[in-house]
């Protein structure tokens, strides 16, 4: 059987781009290294164009990697997100990071890992992609070498990450041992042919979920998130809260849809419990935070709770115990749209925080007092993104919540939706606290904040995307519909 390697062109090109940056770093003078980021951005733009032009469906290595519309959607997402992260980290890296080439090279490796994760449909490949992503992030989190906070969050992240990967491996080894396979489609076949589940298999899946829960920072595996978010360099915090989360969600969604739908009533309750705990603890924990990174960390934990809610609603269990999957496509639509809207909004929030941080070097919430006087544009973007995260109308956050909650409600989980709405209202409180700081409180410093033109453009694009995603989501929804149909077929 021959493999059609043209399917892998974007991945090869991204790897090549990373190598290019790493080797350029060896030759160019220290001053010119500031231009490395633009090499990366232009390279990713070209790869994005090639990906859009050359896309074909197919599988590689007898189904280890699947390239369908779902893969392509997430590939495009990671390329665009990578461009945003590169541009927004430019100024931070200029002033704080010594090894610029390594920083950008490893960042691009994590983009590659995200792209591979969305296409892998086998546990070993998925695990290795996940490790590539985590390895990159371990390094990047600790990259601000002489900053004690960065060191400390690096140690915490690497220890917990290694622990969670040991859990995932124990899970995989049990799944392999009982079923003799780790491919998602074969797992699904085996599960339907087995009458009652082997307890050892259940143990394996529980360990796998626990490890993935660590990566998603779902309660009760969330303790690391606030500390790691607070300590790591700001652009990397943004990438942690968007890139690593979206990558893990893309894997979890494929795993659940392709291999676990048939045994839905075995895991539905567990995911519901996790989702409730995650929503509550994420949103309640955010109420008392004084540092904006910690606040956004808890808020992203809360958002993972909504995504888990969506996953728990992938199937509905009838009264006689049978599983119906009629509405599954709608729920997948909701989850994917939610993830994308979350990514856009979170990026908008983080990039404006980065702009403030580049100017002042501060990241506690009280430092945002009087921001509306110092930079009306930044505070406008920040307020819009806060409203969108809270799920107020007009913005993408509202529309995506509406879709997701609607789909979950249609699966007979109305009480879960009600809880989701209540926690969204709680979240409104702390998001509004930031808005209050910016518009009502008077700040000590009143010097205007200079925003570089590249960050200004990014913020503009994100703001427009937030509003378009809220007002006219139908073009995006068409793409998402294709992706979810590819996933379920």
């Amino acid at each position: 059987m021959t493999n059609n390697f043209s399917l892998l062109i974007p991945e090869f090109l991204v790897t090549g781009l990373a190598f290019l940056i790493l080797s350029l770093d060896l030759f160019v003078s220290e001053k010119r290294k500031d231009y490395l980021v633009w090499v990366g951005v232009i390279g990713l733009l070209i790869i994005l164009g090639i990906t859009l032009l050359t896309f074909t469906n197919g599988i590689l290595y007898q189904g280890l990697l699947v390239f369908d519309d779902y893969t392509n959607l997430f590939r495009i997402f990671f390329l665009i997100a990578g461009i945003i992260v590169l541009i927004s980290s430019n100024e931070f890296v200029k002033s704080n990071i010594k090894y610029k080439g390594e920083f950008y090279g490893i960042l691009i490796f994590t983009i590659l890992a995200g792209m591979l994760l969305s296409s892998s449909s086998e546990l070993l490949t998925a695990y290795i992609s996940l490790e590539l992503l985590s390895f990159g992030l371990y390094v990047l989190v600790a990259f601000d070498r002489y900053n004690m906070k960065s060191n400390e969050s690096g140690v915490k992240y690497v220890l917990l990450g290694a622990f969670s990967s040991a859990l995932i491996l124990y899970g995989i080894s049990n799944i392999y041992g009982v079923l003799g396979t780790t491919r998602f489609d074969e797992i699904s076949l085996m599960l339907t042919s087995i009458d009652d589940l082997n307890p050892f298999l259940i143990l394996g899946f529980i360990f796998l979920f626990a490890g993935l829960g660590f990566k998603l920072s779902a309660v009760p595996f969330h303790m690391w998130a606030p500390d790691v978010y607070e300590g790591s360099p700001l652009p990397i915090t943004a990438w942690l809260s968007v890139g690593s989360k979206v990558a893990t969600v893309s894997l979890v969604l494929r795993l659940f849809c392709e291999s676990l739908l048939q045994i839905g009533n075995e895991w539905q309750l567990i995911i519901i419990v996790l989702s409730v705990a995650t929503m509550l603890i994420g949103n309640l924990g955010a109420l008392v935070q004084k540092n904006i990174k910690r606040l956004l960390a808890f808020s992203s934990i809360g958002h993972m709770g909504y995504i888990l809610m969506g996953i728990s609603a992938l199937i509905s269990v009838n009264e006689d115990g049978s599983v119906s999957t009629e509405m599954t496509v709608l729920v997948i639509n909701g989850i994917i749209f939610y993830v994308i809207a979350y990514a856009i909004t979170n990026f908008a929030a983080f990039v404006s925080v980065i702009a403030v941080f580049n100017h002042s070097g501060q990241d506690s919430i009280s430092d945002f007092a009087g921001l509306s006087k110092r930079s009306p544009f930044l505070s406008l973007v920040l307020v819009c993104s806060m409203f969108s995260l809270a799920g107020l109308p007009v913005f993408a956050g509202f529309t995506s919540k509406f879709y997701l909650f609607n789909a979950v409600g249609a699966q007979d989980l109305l009480w879960l939706v009600a809880l989701g709405i209540v926690t969204s209202l709680i979240s409104l409180y702390y998001y509004l606290m930031i808005a209050r700081q910016m518009y009502i409180e008077k700040g000590a410093d009143s010097a205007p904040i200079k925003v570089s033109s590249s960050i200004r453009i990014i913020l503009m694009v994100l703001l427009v995307a937030m509003i378009i995603g809220g007002g006219f989501p139908s073009p995006l929804m068409d793409l998402i519909q294709l992706a979810s149909e590819a996933l379920i077929s």
Partner: protein
């Protein structure tokens, strides 16, 4: 190659028990001993025990890898780290939540053991050959190096390449974190 009939051989049985008991004892020593340096020596003993189990089952290639990477590289790295951080004697006290934690670990062990004993491996419908009986199964990890290398370089070649990228990322990252610039 170890021939068939390995399970019935008394020597193999005895060496299995010796190896596994010494592996468990040294693992206990790793998590219990106060002196970090000695703990790392016991860790090496555990690695050696696992390599011995690989050999017992006829997976000599894996045993070689285990010896080279775990005993050769990882142990050296760990000892190196212990010496670099000069904390041989000081900071090896345990947590205040020690009892709670040991309950968690013990709970997991009991759960796993009860699952293991309650599982009848012969009845699991899978792609295994149904006529095999667990008690009589002969360890059949034989002569698999050619197939192993073939699988690594055909079906799983992408995973193989990805591990290459991953090692590169790890090396670069480790250097960028530790190297001092002139």
């Amino acid at each position: 190659m170890i021939s068939q009939g390995i399970a019935s051989s008394l020597t193999v049985e005895i060496s299995f028990w010796v190896i596994s008991i010494s592996t468990i004892l040294s693992a206990i020593a790793v998590v219990q001993i106060k002196d970090l340096f000695r703990a790392s020596l016991f860790l090496i003993l555990t690695f050696l025990g696992v390599a011995g189990l690989f050999i017992l089952l006829g997976a000599e290639f894996l045993a070689g890898i285990q010896l080279m990477i775990y005993v050769g590289a990882i142990s050296v790295l760990i000892i190196f780290a212990i010496l670099m951080t000069r904390e041989i004697e000081i900071s090896n006290q345990s947590h205040y939540m020690r009892i709670l934690v040991s309950m968690v670990a013990l709970g997991f062990m009991l759960l796993a053991i009860s699952l293991i004993t309650s599982t009848d491996w012969n009845l699991i419908d899978s792609r295994s050959f149904p006529q095999n009986q667990t008690d009589e199964i002969i360890a059949t990890v034989q002569n698999s190096i050619p197939t192993l290398s073939k699988m690594l370089l055909t079906e799983y070649v992408l995973a193989f390449e990805m591990v290459g990228v991953l090692l590169l990322a790890a090396v670069l990252g480790a250097l960028a974190l530790v190297r001092e610039k002139k």
